[in-house]
Amino acid sequence: MVDNIKDVFRVIWEFRGSGFLLVLYVAALIYLFITEKNKKTRFLLCYLPLLLLLIYLCPVYYRIYVLGIDAVGTYYRNLWMIPVAVTVVYAACRAISAHRIIGGVIVCAVLVLCGKFTYSAAESVRAENAYHIPQYVCELADEMTQEIEGVEVYACVPLEMLFYLRQYDTGICLLYGREAVEPVWGYYDEYYETYELAETLDWDKMLDLSRSPERGIGVVTYFVVPEGRDMDSDPEDHGLIRVADSGGYILYKDTVAIEHIKEVLKDTLYMK
């Protein structure tokens, strides 16, 4: 029980983050409890949030949530039930009603000082196109074409491209995806281990995996390699040809894999 209560308060602490907006909320709530006379407003901004806050803090609700609804990691979303912004802003409007202009300036300044700018340079980058995907990803994806109509392209790309490639074109399948690279999910992926995590890229080992006959027509036909990647040999010695490069990445096409696909699909409708 004590642990549950501690968890609940820890979530509030994390939700509060680096600013003081929750402090403002508590101040606004107290202010409205004392001064607000309109019963409808008291219902919406005082009684209802207070009850919701009590539900949020209730260890029984916490247990029900964790056991039956979702993981502890999303418990913070229950705080979305509390109308923080409306309460703070409404209380501010009431407080400045006699001196609106100077009050308005002060309220804006307080909100700026207590909050944190959304687009700080450290956490956002300039959009390169309407997709909001790095341009080199789009350029390399455009080069990943399949010679045989109706057969999907399989590609192996570095971590930097992994989240973006299929947002551009779902016709390109990936050898490994997000499951392999999220440390908190704890999956082991042999392909990711060999291609990305190994200090030196061992092409023999990698191509043994990517060209494995068990993959059928799902053998990997394209590899994207960062320039300067430490490799044990030249990819072109293994039947790969350099197709394009962009943004510091080189795109290789595996001709052996393409021949394998053609062999598998021989005498099928795909090849007619």
Binding site: L21, Y47, W80, A92, I101, T118, R166
Partner: protein, 373 residues
Amino acid sequence: MIILQILMCILLFAAAPLCMGMAVVSGLKVRSLPFAYAFGFLVMMVSFEIVTVPILLLTEYANFHYVIYIYTPIMLAICVFGVIRSLKSGFLEEAARNLNNALARIVSSREQLVVWILAGAVLIVILVLTLTRVIFDGDDAYYVVQSLIAQQKGTMYSSNPYTGRAAAIDMRHALAVFPMWIAYVGTVSHIHATVLCHSVLPVVFIPLTLIVYGQTGAFLLKDKKELTGYFVLFIEVFILFGRVSLYTPETFLIARTWQGKSVAANVLLPMTFLVLWVVYTYESSEDAGLKDIRRAWILVAIINASAGIFSSLAVVLTCVIQVSGGVIMSVLGRGPGKFKIRWRPVLYSCLCCIPGFVYMLLYLYYTYFGWRS
């Protein structure tokens, strides 16, 4: 092509929600154009969910093309009904009159004009930042790609979005069909789903959030209309400087505008509060008849029904808020000074949760008994 795309966006993001909202809001006494517009989005979501979930569960590979063929005429029918109902009830004339009065009030005062211009300028700053800056979010590799798969391949939730391999349906995410709504809009407007998510939807959902908040402010500050502009301006500043942690609704609004949980946190839940305020207006009024009160509670039921499209958690949160609201209304009683418990608000608030319960039953059934077992 670009003219067609813009035209379709105007129809789908402006005209359709307004008409669909008017279909419901026209019958109320507490009504306004912004309220009808914002509520229309939720009506759109409910109708889309009712069409899409059976297709998802019952058709081979969850054929997305059926959604387009079936939902489009249904949406148009609701829109036509909304226009007819609003004309019959005189809502459009009333709304136009109110809009004129509000504009006249703003223009007649230099202070009001400056405040609203400032609010408009801050909104433009937010939108420009949203369109020109990128905040990385790993969940896009799931949600955006699900929309794009539906758009490009015509199937719903039938493959792993991260790799493209065939996969069993993930019921936790699949019942929340908001990514399919994005795919629908992208398909009928001929816009790539990723472009739609990152470069079009912020222009829709950030102003929509402000409309919901602004309408809440207008209701709360009914006797001090001169403060409504300040209310909107402060909300904008709050949003722009609300990223105190990764968990706030404001962070989600800016960084993940196109994800269902963001819309749930910033549109659905504030709308729930707004609608509860409307319901309490009726419940606490001596003049309101039972018919009016029931109509107001229907809004609550629609909100509850729409929650499932955004996320399964949104269903739980709306149920908790609605029942809590019902409990407090019951305790507060009708009229000032009368402290007596009435059971109707609690009963109605529980009845309004029935759509959410149906959703949760579906979720549990398919989670524990498997999909197409």
